[in-house]
């Protein structure tokens, strides 16, 4: 089953209700690291994957680690992918492991030629072990390294060209990053190659104060913001209809609220399909 239309990120509080109600959802995406053991969550997912197309979204492979990716974790991911046979597998343009410690965050990378070489090595290794294409997602940014010389979308384009990986465009992250670091979100989207596009993410963000200036925090804790919907519409005009996911990870609302967000995205996807067909 291939994902099409709008999916939702599967979160624990909604599992029982989805199993019982079987609401129309385009597809489900789960965080790989929550299913690497056994137990009830894994059993529930085995049942859900029979009813919905599945995407596996890794948050812990640390593709940007200078010390390389952890072989043991890659093995666990590969076994999970073999068992669940998801339609999509994705990870992030970030790092979280150094000196054997896992810092639970998608941490930023300087975008340089050296780091691009490293990412190419790590993505290639992951794709070879998984035996399939990985989608790589743009992170949300809160700082910029002085050494960064390659704009983020160009860095992703080069990574896709050199490794054959696909791209996951998190439209909310584009908005957050451009707002926090100075940048034109529309130009960012317009720079990303359309050929490698495999998936879009949408989520809510919060606005915090830092040193008297507003900083947007990608907390996945609210509805998708209006400017992000507009940017999503722009992305669909550029990329055409693309499987789109609604993520909501903190202050998780009732399932119907999530399905409402998903319906809003579906409407825009339908409009984009009409345009593509015309």
């Amino acid at each position: 089953m291939n994902p099409s239309g709008c999916g939702i990120g599967l979160r624990a509080p909604h599992v029982a209700e989805i199993l019982e109600r079987r609401p129309p959802i385009g597809w489900l995406e789960v965080h790989a690291e929550n299913y690497m053991g056994g137990g009830p969550a894994v059993r529930a997912l085995e049942r859900l994957r029979a009813a919905y197309p599945l995407s596996i979204h890794g948050v812990g492979l640390s593709l940007g680690s200078a010390e390389g990716i952890d072989g043991e974790h890659l093995e666990r991911l590969a076994r999970l992918v073999e068992r669940l046979e998801p339609a999509l597998v994705s990870e992030h343009l970030s790092w979280s492991v150094t000196g054997g410690a896992y810092l639970n965050h998608l941490l930023p990378l300087p975008y340089t030629d050296e780091v691009l070489d490293l990412l190419c090595t790590n993505v290639t290794r992951a794709q070879e072990r998984l035996g399939r294409r990985l989608l790589v997602e743009n992170p949300s940014g809160y700082l910029k390294f002085r050494d960064s010389s390659i704009p983020e979308p160009e860095f992703l384009n080069a990574l896709a060209r050199r490794t054959g990986c696909g791209l996951l465009c998190d439209v909310n992250n584009v908005y957050v990053t451009c707002s926090n670091l100075g940048g034109d979100a529309v130009a960012w989207i317009d720079t990303l190659d359309t050929g490698a596009m495999g998936e879009i993410h949408l989520a809510g963000h919060a606005a915090n104060d830092a040193d008297g200036r507003t900083v947007l925090i990608d907390d996945h804790g609210s509805a998708v913001a209006d400017p992000v919907w507009s940017l999503f519409e722009h992305a669909l005009r550029r990329f055409g209809p693309t499987p789109t996911l609604i993520e909501w990870d903190t202050e998780i609302p009732a399932l119907d609220v999530l399905l409402g967000e998903s319906a809003k995205a579906s409407l825009r996807l339908l409009r984009a399909s009409d345009v593509a067909a015309a």
Binding site: G37, G38, L61, P110, N208, V215, I217
Partner: protein
């Protein structure tokens, strides 16, 4: 060391031990200062890991109150950052950390309650295994049987404490009043996952010694000896039948 490796080590020092010296010069400093930008990342790392610990240790959280727990979790994360990205596997050292944590010295039973919660977490995420059929043992020659080692279901954990940790755990569930008789004595507990729930129960001394020895990989005759030391009236035939009837053994 490659520049990126150095940068990542410096970033780790900034996040985990608040030492921003080595990383600051690598980051663009503008209208939002570097420290404020780093603290966005640090805040997420600590709050998400403290939340993961809180999810694994809800009774410990209630026993020490939420604010103290957050502080203890902060200290723990600095000393023992996760070794891998599966957050359900994070916090194995937390009971030992609490046992050594001076601020908890007046709660001598706290670390053992934490061990119970960790064991419940392990049981919840353990893989399933096929149950051992009784015939598998019947087929063995008595002499072989004495030296056999048995494998328990992966979710089975045997845990003992000088404190009534089972009573403390039950009294500190969300709807319970928190009143416990700390003088109720030791606990010898067997935990396992049944369907989707982790359950535990107290075992008699002989049964506990027998099963704990088997679970530790000791041969049957050795486990029987330990059980008889703990409880002279230990009934071997009945106990082996119980292991099989309760489907505690795995193939």
């Amino acid at each position: 060391m490659s520049p990126l490796r150095e940068l990542q080590a410096a970033f780790r020092a900034a996040l985990l031990v608040d030492d921003e010296r080595a990383v600051t010069s690598a980051i663009v400093d503008d209208d939002v200062g570097v420290s404020a930008r780093l603290s966005i990342y640090r805040h997420h790392v600590f709050t998400s890991l403290a939340a993961a610990l809180g999810a694994t240790y809800p009774v410990v959280t209630r026993l020490v109150d939420r604010r103290f727990f957050a502080w203890a979790a902060d200290r723990y994360v600095r000393a023992y950052p996760p070794a891998g990205p599966c957050l359900a596997e994070y916090g194995a050292d937390f009971p030992a950390f609490l046992a050594q944590f001076p601020a908890c010295a007046h709660l001598p039973w706290l670390a053992d309650v934490a061990r119970l919660e960790w064991a419940m977490n392990v049981a919840l995420h353990a893989p399933d295994a096929a149950a051992l059929e009784p015939d598998a043992l019947r087929a063995l020659h008595p002499r072989t049987l004495a030296r056999v080692t048995l494998r328990f279901q992966p979710s089975v954990v045997l845990l003992e404490s000088p404190w009534p940790i089972d009573a403390i755990w039950r009294a500190n569930q969300p709807d319970a009043d928190g009143v416990v008789d700390l003088g109720a004595g030791e606990a010898r507990l067997e935990l396992r996952r049944l369907d989707d729930d982790v359950v535990f129960r107290a075992l008699p001394p002989g049964t506990f010694a027998f099963r704990a020895a088997l679970a530790a990989g000791r041969a049957l005759e050795d486990a029987v000896e330990r059980a008889l030391d703990a409880e002279p009236g230990f009934d071997l035939t009945g106990e082996i039948r119980a292991l099989l009837d309760e489907r505690l053994l795995a193939t």
